[in-house]
């Protein structure tokens, strides 16, 4: 169990969009400068509040994608068709815009760079985002913990951080990346498109005897399937942390 960190009273801060960056079809990274940002741990999220000119306000939770970097944070938002907030963030928001953020919040789905254990990350669709914060934090902190990532995504056009993941894995830096496509795989793929299964998890991850720390994040269906397969393979349920978000049947 994580230490119960004393947080002080949580309050909203005004953030300014420093830049936006397209990541994949319908996915954009919003870079925010947040004066007074207290820093965060990989896997934490923020609540983001948008207020319209007429005073109507609404809020959403988004995982932080970036490693700790002063008062700057990055959120990667995947647009949800018909959504209220995500189309605004992925299509309209631009540098200079202001919005409110509250955080960082969440102490459960968190990886700390001083943890030496091997790590197995399983991301479904936009569930990759908090896992990317862990991968980036690992590199930034010079951690030697060995990481393996299994990333399940609908088709190649939706792959987030494509080049960065390739580069980080190619540096033979103790990170391996396995991509699994659920609807359509690129030509020449060794594995046909399909949902994750026990064979894939066994090949992409660690043997249970290594007692990896496991983080699974994505739509509910993906997370439930991943957790059940991991336990069936012999992984300790107490080593599996999960976070469910996003629409089922969305980008997964």
């Amino acid at each position: 169990m994580a230490r119960a960190a004393v947080l002080g009273r949580l309050s909203w801060r005004v953030a300014t969009v420093a830049a936006v960056r397209d990541e994949a079809a319908g996915a954009r990274t919003i870079v925010l400068d947040v004066p007074g940002w207290p820093g965060h741990a990989a896997g934490q999220h923020v609540d983001l509040r948008l207020t319209a000119a007429d005073g109507y306000s609404t809020q959403r939770s988004y995982s932080i994608a970036s490693a700790p970097d002063g008062e700057r944070i990055e959120l990667t938002v995947v647009s949800i068709s018909g959504g209220e907030v995500s189309p605004y963030l992925t299509e309209v928001a631009e540098a200079g815009d202001q919005m409110e953020v509250r955080g960082p919040v969440g102490g459960w789905f968190v990886w700390q760079p001083d943890a030496p254990d091997p790590v197995f990350l399983l991301g479904g669709g936009s569930g990759l985002v908090p896992l990317m914060a862990m991968i980036r934090s690992r590199a930034a902190a010079g951690s030697r913990a060995e990481f393996r990532l299994l990333y399940s995504v609908r088709d190649p056009s939706l792959v987030l951080y494509r080049y960065e993941l390739r580069e980080r894995a190619a540096e033979s830096s103790g990170l391996s990346v396995t991509c699994a496509f659920t609807r359509s795989a690129p030509p020449g793929s060794a594995r046909p498109a399909g949902q994750i299964d026990a064979g894939l998890i066994a090949a992409a991850g660690w043997p249970p005897a290594r007692r990896p720390a496991i983080f699974a994040c994505g739509p509910t269906g993906f997370v439930e399937a991943a957790a059940n397969l991991l336990v069936d393979l012999g992984h300790d349920p107490g080593r599996i942390k999960t976070e469910r978000f996003g629409p089922s049947g969305g980008t997964l």
Partner: protein, 106 residues
């Protein structure tokens, strides 16, 4: 499937965010709302379900409508939270006990 505008008692604002019709989230999403109330992170605290006595982190509860958390084992409501502009109501009747790790003084 679309994001729910979350028309609730809180002046139309959605709680916890990413609230999606027909899709359950988990207790991780309550960290902000509960962080307004508690000094310690309650999502990583261990809660015991008053109904089935399962003990686990509140992050593992299933969250509906952004504000109702249910036990992942028996689906009983363990926590409800309602927010108005100037106050919050927290209903913990479904929790028998909450266990916080408090680091010993060095």
């Amino acid at each position: 499937m679309s994001e729910s505008p979350g028309a609730g008692p809180a002046g139309g604002s959605t709680f916890g965010g990413s609230t999606l019709d027909g899709s359950t989230l988990d207790g991780n999403v309550l960290a902000g709302a509960l962080g307004e109330i508690f000094a310690a992170d309650i999502t990583s605290a261990l809660g015991q379900c008053a109904s089935c006595l399962r003990t686990g982190p509140l992050a593992e509860t299933r969250v509906y409508s952004g504000a109702v958390a249910r036990c992942p084992a028996c689906a009983a409501v363990v926590l409800r939270i309602v927010r108005a502009p100037d106050r919050a109501w927290l209903d913990l009747r479904g929790l028998r006990c909450i266990q916080f790790a408090i680091p010993a003084d060095q």
